[in-house]
């Protein structure tokens, strides 16, 4: 898509004007991939800073140099700062008998929280942990039954029937939510569950009535990890979704990870993950790539960047 810019080859000192044309081409390219315009522009002004005044390598056009620079930026952005070894962390806590490892998922409506929570459960079961799924979505119709169905399915797929159970407290208001969460953790201790997975109701990130209870929920349940599920389908709103969930837990608590769901539904338009990470610096734990339990993958940064650049 950048063909028409192939002009100067090698050894050219790059001026601001050289970059300006490349800038708009690259930015449009990213926007087509579902990167939010302001994120695209920020990434590209970084490139401008890097390039202006530098000299193109031999046999390399300004355009090619800019592309390379963008590619490096994206790789840097999507590569987590420290390695993510969740299983190891869980093993430490569980091995030291410090109680169950508690993970909660949060996110806006319909993004795939409950489904990807069930995929996480499947992964933990495969690693021989005992998992307690907890129905803290006490609002949406059928939310409890949805999890019950998953627990039944997962129980049938497990080597041992009682490796997974559902903890539920029916439907009701937000006071009920914290009660169910803390109840589940006590139950898990008593019955030797290694991992407690807390599902929560979908909520609009711009509604204080719905976002405020998240902080007290997190205080009550004190999860080891809070994971935001965000979907690949969402457009520019992904920036604010990530920001608002990241700051929903008060000054001393942030999101730990993202799961980016529905990556199988967007083709090469995978920009929403760029938006989420750019907005918060929170790393991606997994990407969701389908509706079955095995459709949970570690993000290949190479694949993602190639897809974004292609």
């Amino acid at each position: 898509p950048f063909g028409f810019l192939r002009n100067v080859i090698g050894g050219k000192k790059i001026q601001k004007e050289d970059v300006s044309k490349v800038k708009s081409v690259l930015s449009q390219h990213l926007i087509k991939k579902n990167v939010a315009p302001n994120v695209a522009n920020s990434l590209i002004s970084e490139i401008e800073k890097e390039l202006v005044g530098s000299t193109t390598a031999s046999f390399t056009s300004v355009e090619e140099t800019a592309r390379k620079s963008l590619e490096r930026q994206l790789i840097k952005l999507l590569t987590p700062n420290s390695s993510i070894d969740l299983l190891n962390e869980i093993q430490e806590k569980v091995g030291n008998k410090e109680g169950p490892y508690v993970i909660s998922v949060v996110g806006v409506n319909g993004v795939g929280k409950s489904t990807n929570l069930s995929k996480l459960a499947y992964w933990f079961l495969q690693n021989n942990y005992r998992v307690l799924i907890t129905a803290c979505d006490t609002f949406r119709s059928g939310a409890v039954e949805q999890l019950r169905t998953h627990v039944n399915n997962l129980s049938n797929l497990s080597p041992e029937k009682h490796q997974i159970e559902l903890f539920e407290g029916g439907y009701g208001g937000s006071d009920l939510v914290a009660k169910i969460a803390t109840g589940a953790i006590v139950y898990a201790k008593q019955h030797n569950f290694d991992i407690v997975l807390l599902d929560t109701a979908g909520r609009r990130h711009n509604d204080a009535h719905l976002m405020t209870p998240l902080a007290s929920f997190a205080r009550a349940a004190n999860p080891d990890k809070i994971i935001m599920v965000g979907e690949a389908l969402v457009g520019t709103d992904s920036v604010l979704q990530a920001k608002n969930f990241d700051k929903a837990f008060g000054a001393n608590r942030r999101l730990d990870f993202f799961i980016v769901s529905k990556c199988d539904t967007v083709g090469d338009m995978i920009g929403s993950m760029v938006n989420m990470v750019f907005a918060t610096g929170i790393p991606i734990l997994f990407v969701g790539t389908g509706q079955t339990y095995t459709d949970l993958r570690t993000l290949s940064v190479n694949w993602a960047v190639n897809t974004l650049m292609s």
Binding site: K32, P37, G110, Q146, H205, N206, T236, K262
Partner: protein, 306 residues
Amino acid sequence: MVLADLGRRINSAVSEVTRSSVVDSNVVDNMLKEISNALVEADVNIRLVISMRKKLKTKIESEDKPGINKKKIIQKAVFDELCELVDCGGAQVFKPKRKQANVLMMVGLQGAGKTTTCTKLAVYYQRRGYKVGLVCADTFRAGAFDQLKQNATKARIPYYGSYTEVDPVTVAADGVDKFKKEKFEIIIVDTSGRHRQEKDLFEEMVQIEDAIKPDETIMVLDASIGQAAESQARAFKESSNFGAIILTKMDGHAKGGGAISAVAATNTPIAFIGTGEHIQDLESFTAKQFVSKLLGIGDIQGLMEH
């Protein structure tokens, strides 16, 4: 409405022009650029924005004759162009007929809000005196039938579904049959979420459609969808030929630009918008009203009188 943000920007771009003493092509270009940016940031498909910008420019230039108020022309052109973007040439949305069965089938991407919208729509028609029934033909999603059942029970709408039958085609056909025999006037069929990348899922949708012959298929679209809206909507259109769109989650922060691109790409009108998680959170949709709201009613009043 959160669209206000987009509306404000477009509005201020237009009034920037109307305030400046000379309206030359430079001023117009700046306005077009600002409007385009606002639309792209609202997720409107970037190609759509580029072509709209060209059309606007031509329109404004061609009507630029001496003695004609250029500012009025610009205001009206922007209003009309935005309307056209969401209006699809004034295509009519489906009107159910009394005293006969009207079968409505809901389709869409995963998690768009189909099941929730089914009950909202049922309530909408029930309040207008229709005899309405709901059919759950989603046999895939965990807890789908319970979700519909609990919603329907709350809203006192008769429903049909099965915990044991795994074939959605069978459930759909059985449910529609039953309600037809009982002289229901509106029968709303909920289906599983699906996406164009999975052929089998689309085939299933076509099979359900063949079995129940809906009078109207409705695509349910999440207002926060981004650039993928267009290709998904096109694919749904090709396979299901839906005749109306319902935009959900308009109470959220997103501005619905992606969904508007889907409207444009499929030339299919928006019938309703969903504005919350509760049963009554459904509003009917008209393009003029939508754009008026977008730009702030007051400014538009004058335009409408022309």
